[in-house]
Symmetry: none
Subunit: 152 residues, 2 copies
Amino acid sequence: MAGFKGQADYSVDAKGRVALPAKMRRVLSPAANDTFVLTRGIERCVYLYPLDVWNKKEAAEFEHLNQYEPETRAMLRSMYRWADEETLDAQGRVIISKRLIEFAGIADKVTIIGALDRIEIWNPDVLTTELAEEDAQYGARIQLVMGKREAE
Amino acid sequence: MAGFKGQADYSVDAKGRVALPAKMRRVLSPAANDTFVLTRGIERCVYLYPLDVWNKKEAAEFEHLNQYEPETRAMLRSMYRWADEETLDAQGRVIISKRLIEFAGIADKVTIIGALDRIEIWNPDVLTTELAEEDAQYGARIQLVMGKREAE
DNA sequence: GGATTATCCCCCACATTTCCCCACAGCCTC
DNA sequence: GAGGCTGTGGGGAAATGTGGGGGATAATCC
């Protein structure tokens, strides 16, 4: 699967609809059926996983966890109670629930970014402030993550 | 794949288009489909990877990283949100997004250099100042990098 | 229980941007 | 010297992002 790439500013209309960039829609596999699983980001944003990607994650990472451990149960509960399945309309837009809009602190403008296997939707101001440091450390971080990898 | 070689000065037109040197275009594999993945350089420039090369990197190096580690997530986000997939037009030009133009500090002239598996696009002035030191240390650095390799 | 209101979903419409095609001048090659 | 290739510039058509309307379904109030 080709990964989601790029960044762009979009608007949220009065109905809570957000258009996804055409470039990202083109990457979608037919198996995704124009459907996404939206959930709260680990950061203060909304994660969008194509349905097929989410299903694979579920089967590979979540289904076999031991739910008799409280930490596991708590993690899965936090993850799934925020999750929401939505299909694109004919214009390529997705509806973001009020819960998620509120969690991400989104008003009427958003910045949408591609992040390999998912799409992230941010409040533009939050993104600018939170990711400035990330960008500044880009070179060091590549060395840290990918350099570590070579040493394996 | 034969590596990209050489250096040349080109201009950026009003639409943000930059022609790639014909010599570099001839090196492209048909699998690249005349398409590049552009992303921010680790240095202050734009990296261009042919699509086939990028897809191999993605599958071999990025897809299997553990995104539950914050550092990994941050690195992939910085990498992918700057990335952009673009196809050459009939004249062999590629469009560079305004974001990348701005990041690399490019105005209307660029220097394009070949760098083995990728092409780099620089502001000519930035390149001259930043790479002067690199060139000066050429001999010592070859010994450092390639000498280490023999010791393995 | 019926009427009214609210919500959701699909369709239509428009303005801007993007993309693709055509055109031309300079250079190298033959 | 002729012809093709290369780098540069611009215009028209299609796609993209955005807004709003109308009908069906569900919820609420009297």
